[in-house]
Amino acid sequence: MNRLLGRGVLVRGAAILALMLVALFALPAWFDTSWIDTFTSVAIYAVVSAGLVVLYGKVGMISLGQFALLAVGTWTGLRLNYLVDLPFPLLLLATGAVTCVVGVVIGLPALRLSGLFLALITLMGAGAITLVLRTLEFPNGGGGFSGHRDSDLGGVVPMVRPSWGTSEVGFYRYTVIVCALVFLLALAHFVLKPGRAWAAIRESEPAALAAGVNITLYKMWAFALASFMTGVAGCLLASQVGQTTPQPFLLTNNLLLIATAMIGGIFTLWGAVVAGVLSKLVPFFLQTEWGVGQYWLTIIFGLGMLQVLLTAPGGIAEQLPKDLANLARLVSRPFRKRPSASKETP
């Protein structure tokens, strides 16, 4: 096994550990609450992007409905919160399970369609969800299926938070840990039997079939996993904001989501983290530090998308280490050249 678990795994493990320590202890010490709130969003959106890593990066299926699934997760989290009195971890799991069912239904066409047509069908599914949620509104403690009542009357109780996550920093740490666990779940899939079956499907469906892979099962499994992850993220989002309206859940965000996922790097979980930073931290930073509006970002992301499609399919997560290595070589060149030059002189 030692030959298979090489130095790379150790280095990566150390990097993950360092990142977790910085996220859990250093960031809360350095930044104030508005930044911490943004970091919470980064973690949540990293999980949503990781769903796209599963679907597109690992299996090769394009889904343009993942942001709508986040909305489903948020709605379900709120609804369950007002319906039953569950401990927060169970609330997360239950929300994930419900979103998982919705996601699998949206993913059903993937058994027959791929590429552009699958993208269109999932986008239409997202459109339908967006419309339904706009009519239903988000639950705020009312009765019936929708759980919504007119909030003008006041007295609306926001969604619960986990017991040791009532403060901003506490909730941030809780979110980071939950997101790390979700990443671990995805990673376990990647390195075990499902990951290899997905890689086979991505490479060639006929060859996967000849290898004995039940393509229907594994495609649905990917949709189930991605939707579960997105559902958990949705529940965290619901708890973070406490209350929400349909307004933030725009249909166009589905497209923006896949754009940031691709720019971040859609083939690895590192890319999902970068995508989370791109979609939440970068806009926040630009807005608070330089007063740059959101609309500029759409243009920047468009250019970034072009760059990814033309020259760097692996996104920032893959390109940045390469560029840094090149830079290091460039910088160190004058120092390395001397001995070889002295050899050539005689």
Binding site: R3, L4, G6, K193, R196, A197, A199, A200, R202, E203, S204, P206, A207, L209, A210, A211, G212, V213, N214, I215
Partner: protein, 252 residues
């Protein structure tokens, strides 16, 4: 033993396989024929990608056509493709293990089975990523995928296509050893007659979807009809004559 009875495949207006009845007795069997003869279509029927219009296939007494496509691998059917299909993003070990995971062989022996298959085909770095291997090694990974996890029937579709002679020789040694080592029946499709004659005791020949010869490889390769199908003697004569007439006419 594979018994094919009255197998017919029709695609809108074309009949790539036309009422073929043939027996592959065991060991390594060749399946040859000119381009478009129906060899790959025959493999596709065995794999379940193509549903035949008529006919039956029994492999070791089991009705192969009655099985769901992906379950045939579990039964023991393996195949390689004309174009390389080893998974580039995975390591050699993972590529082979992935086949083992969907086979009948148990989890307990997985690691040793996979490493044995990799060693048998002559690869020495199980941890290497397939995307970084050269053409020969990628072909060998496919072969290792074909021999792992108790296979019963192995279909090899031009396994040595595009390889230089000395590497084809290594491939031939590996293929020759399969029936004895694993007890599996191998069907080898290839245009390289030296590979076919060195590996296969029996050979069947298809031409335009029909079986034109089958039997011992030495006899089949001497068969006049087979030679004509490959070289097209009649058409060749016409062409040569036509060209000569053309040449003689030109100076006049």
């Amino acid at each position: 033993m594979i018994e094919v009875e009255g197998l017919t495949v029709r695609f809108a207006g074309v009949t790539p396989i036309d009422d073929v009845s043939v027996v592959f007795p065991g060991g390594t069997c060749g399946l040859i024929g000119p381009n478009g003869a129906g060899k790959t279509t025959f493999f596709n029927v065995l794999s379940g990608f193509v549903k035949p219009a008529a006919g039956s296939i029994r492999a070791f007494g089991d009705d192969l056509l009655g099985m769901v496509d992906f379950r045939r691998a579990r039964w023991g059917l393996r195949r390689t493709f004309q174009t390389e299909q080893a998974i580039e993003s995975l390591s050699v070990f993972e590529n082979v293990a992935m086949i083992h995971e969907h086979s009948k062989a148990g989890r307990a022996t997985r690691r040793s089975d996979v490493l044995a298959a990799i060693e048998y085909v002559g690869l020495d770095e199980p941890g290497a990523t397939v995307g970084g291997l050269d053409a020969r090694d990628r072909r060998l990974v496919e072969l290792a995928r074909a021999v792992v996890g108790r296979p019963r029937v192995i279909l090899l579709d031009e396994p040595a296509a595009g390889l230089p002679d000395e590497e084809t020789e290594h491939m031939a040694t590996v293929i020759q050893g399969i029936p004895e080592r694993l007890g599996a029946l191998v069907i080898l499709v290839d245009h390289d007659m030296s590979l076919v004659s060195s590996c296969c005791t029996t050979t069947a020949v298809l031409d335009f979807g029909r079986l034109i010869a089958s039997g011992l490889t030495t006899d089949v390769l001497r068969d006049e009809q087979v030679i004509r199908a490959y070289l097209g003697t009649e058409e060749l004569d016409d062409q040569v004559l036509g060209a000569e007439e053309h040449v003689t006419e030109e100076p006049a």
